[in-house]
């Protein structure tokens, strides 16, 4: 049991194990260095690598490190950390249950310590909402599908593109697993950040500071607030160019460029203006998406995709030398801005303002 709970610490049963072991979190934090170390590593690896890192060989330490990691995330309290942490926990859980499901199939054994689909359905109260499989296809109730698919930005997840019939959306096993990953992410994000009691916080100050430092180094929250399209990374230049030509971009590409522009400090109005070169750019859609990305109309604030994600969507084009050295389009832009002499930088918005003034004369 302990192994299962250590692998999947977000399970209800795992939470109960933590509670019934009569573990007092304050005592753990005070006395068990191994747990605190693993918890810190969990959060830092989440930030740096997008997963939760090597599990501790002692199941008990591994299991207890999860609630402590949540405490650390809450102490730092940044939205971007909550989001990245939850995504990393969910990604790790996803990899593990894919492993478990393959194991179960191969060994044809019910005695594994792994998790199977049935258990996941039960855990997330989905048994009633998921039907099948018939010929490898599951059917999921639309009222359950919509919240699970809400943060999957790719067009293929949109309801309008689903063969919805009798209130059910058909999904194959891969899609079902991706939806379950979303369910896990949501559960992990749920309730974060929470208020941490003083007694516990006092013992974790050093670890929280370390996480803050890593977060600052990643520069995810820094505002650049300079808009010089000439210095944009090639991928973003290409996307902006297509929008301005009035080409129809897939959702993920639109998301990428819009998130990028929002991250360099552009307002929704400015983004709309920049796109407006062509009349068919879809102002309403742009506004909705930008507000959503910015977190005005959604609980989360989105950051632009990394180079790896851009590559996997086929949006990484015209790579240059600088691209080889950076992991993220934001890093590319920052470096170009840093390299340029200040007087050389003409902010696009200042040009616009001039134009507007002369137009007003």
């Amino acid at each position: 049991m302990q192994r299962l709970h250590a692998r999947y610490p977000f399970l209800e049963a795992a939470r109960e194990t933590v509670a019934t072991e009569a573990v007092d979190l304050a005592t753990v934090v005070e006395r068990e260095e191994a747990v605190v170390d693993r918890a810190t590593q969990r959060v830092i690896t989440a930030l740096e690598d997008g997963d939760t890192g090597e599990p501790h060989r002692d199941h008990r330490v591994e299991l207890l490190s999860y609630p402590v990691a949540r405490v650390l995330v809450s102490m730092v309290g940044e939205n971007v950390l909550v989001r990245k942490y939850a995504r990393a926990e969910a990604a790790t859980a996803y990899d593990r249950f894919i492993e478990d499901i393959e194991d179960t199939t191969e060994l044809k054994s019910v005695e594994t310590a792994g998790l199977d689909l049935e258990a996941l359905f039960a855990e997330f109260d989905l048994r009633e909402a998921i039907h099948g499989p018939v010929d490898g296809e599951y059917r999921i109730d639309v009222g359950t599908y919509l919240p699970l698919a809400a943060d999957l930005w790719d067009d293929e997840w949109r309801l309008v593109n689903q063969p919805l019939e009798r209130g059910e959306v058909p999904v194959d096993e891969g899609e079902l697993l991706a939806l379950l990953r979303e369910g896990i992410r949501e559960r992990i994000e749920d309730g974060l950040p929470f208020d941490v009691p003083e007694t516990i916080a006092a013992d974790l100050e050093a670890e929280a500071a370390e996480i803050r430092e890593v977060l600052a180094d990643l520069d995810l929250t820094r505002e650049i607030d300079t808009v010089v399209p000439d210095l944009f990374p090639p991928c973003m230049k290409a996307l902006l160019d297509q929008i301005q030509k009035g080409e129809h971009l897939p959702h993920h590409s639109r998301f990428a460029i819009t998130a990028f522009l929002a991250s360099i400090g552009m307002t929704t109005d400015e983004i709309v203006d920049l796109y407006r070169v062509n009349s068919s750019f879809g102002e309403e859609m742009t506004r909705y998406q930008t507000d959503h990305i910015r977190g005005d109309t959604s609980p989360t604030e989105y950051s632009p995709p990394s180079c790896a994600t851009m590559q996997s969507y086929g949006d990484c084009v015209n790579k240059d030398d600088l691209c080889e050295r950076i992991p993220h389009p934001m890093a590319y832009y920052e470096e170009r801005i840093d390299d340029a002499e200040d007087e050389e930088l003409e902010d696009w918005r200042e040009g616009e303002a001039d134009e507007a003034e002369s137009a007003g004369d």
Binding site: G143, N161, P163, E165, R166, T297
Partner: protein, 391 residues
């Protein structure tokens, strides 16, 4: 509106509420209530954030307040009477759709009559119901004539009441066909193939539901039309499409003649020209089948909606719940005329005359003092086109 007119309408609305039994929506005490009183101020003031507890018995409240308009919330709350949305503590919300003749394509404002606009609106209602009953298979569906310019549909199925704004937007986009991407409806299957050295891909349009099914229906109807035509006429039909020249037209016609079964099954890889042509039917399907609902009403989980059974203060018509099998024969401009206003004439001074279609008749109303059937008088007064005259 003059005080005499207002007093008259207030009084007659009270008479209506005295003799009418109103069935409140389910969970009425978990909802926010609001109403607009008859006032002389030019702007309308909505009294809202009321719970049923504060209003008291609904029928008694309507008789006492005889409001001009009365609404209840789609949302259900732990404390519906709290003054801010945060304090109300949202629990769930009915999924509501609004079809408003003002926003419908196919309606020309200022040209179409009220009856024509409502007829266009009813067509749109049937398209909406096709989505709600078949694609979504909702079971708790309540259709309401708004008493004004259109129809409301309230969905109260347990499994959608928890949906938040962004999830409801997906439903809006679905029934409006927004963001439909033909490529995403195509399923690619790798076929290992007997006797084939390399596996090939088979591309199929998903025709088992959703927009794929609608596109396919239109496409097949077109294919069958082609098959009925003489060779030359069929080729001409095909070449009328942008990007389809002689070669592609011939390939498509051949596919239609020799491979109709494959096309029927959704196979669009018969020929590239076929796939290209099928894609054209995506926008046609949206144009023909989409339900042009008013988006903000559906996505707003706190929205106030007009109470069925109440009177619409801008028309004097009754907001009516309709049984599913009543909709076909429903004539809003006669069936929604309240009994209370039938059977007697009243004196009014008409300031803005013209044709009025109401109660199964068409009245050509001149301007000035006259006696009219009460429901016509009430309609004109509610619309600000007449004032009450002394009897």
């Amino acid at each position: 509106m003059e005080e005499r007119t207002r007093a008259y309408l207030r009084g007659r609305f009270r008479d209506h509420y005295r003799r009418t039994e109103i069935t409140p929506p389910p969970a009425a005490n978990e909802r926010e209530w609001g109403f607009i009183p008859w006032t002389d101020s030019p702007g309308t003031t909505m009294v809202r954030h009321r719970s049923l507890l504060e209003l008291g018995d609904l029928s008694e409240f309507l008789v006492r307040k005889r409001p001009r308009h009365v609404y209840f919330s789609a949302g259900r709350f732990r404390d519906p009477g709290a003054s801010s949305m945060g304090e109300k503590d949202w629990q769930s919300a009915d999924l509501v759709f609004d079809l408003d003749a003002d926003h419908l394509p196919g309606v020309t404002l200022g040209e179409d009559t009220y009856a024509e606009m409502l007829a266009t609106c009813k067509d749109a209602l049937f398209r909406l119901l096709d989505f709600l009953e078949n694609d979504f298979a909702f079971e708790d569906v309540e259709v309401v004539f708004s008493g004004g310019r259109g129809y409301h549909v309230h969905i109260r199925d347990e499994n959608v009441r928890h949906l938040e704004r962004e999830h409801r937007r997906e439903i809006v986009d679905y029934v409006r066909g927004i963001g439909l991407d033909f490529d995403e409806l195509i399923e690619t299957e790798t076929v290992a193939g007997l006797g084939r050295r390399t596996p090939t891909e088979r591309r199929h349009l998903r025709i088992d539901g959703g927009w794929g099914k609608r596109i396919h229906e239109q496409f097949m109807a077109f294919v069958d039309e082609l098959l009925d035509l003489e060779n030359e006429a069929a080729l001409e039909r095909l070449q009328a499409f942008d990007g389809i020249g002689e070669g592609k037209a011939e390939a498509t016609l051949n596919a239609a003649r020799n491979n109709r079964e494959e096309l029927e099954a959704g196979n669009v890889t018969v020929h590239t020209a076929v796939a290209q042509l099928a894609e054209r039917f995506a926008s046609r399907a949206v144009e023909r089948d989409n339900a042009p609902i008013d988006e903000p009403v559906t996505t707003d989980t706190n929205r106030l909606i007009r109470l069925p059974g109440s009177l619409h203060g801008g028309s004097g018509l009754e907001t009516l719940r309709l049984d599913r099998d009543e909709i076909d024969d429903f004539e809003p401009l006669s069936d929604a005329v309240p009994e209370t206003f039938r059977g007697q004439e009243i004196a009014v001074d008409v300031t803005d005359g013209g044709e009025v279609e109401l109660g199964g008749d068409i009245f050509t109303v001149s301007e000035g003092d006259q006696s009219l059937p009460e429901y016509v008088g009430v309609f004109l007064m509610a619309r600000g086109r007449a004032e009450k005259e002394k009897e």
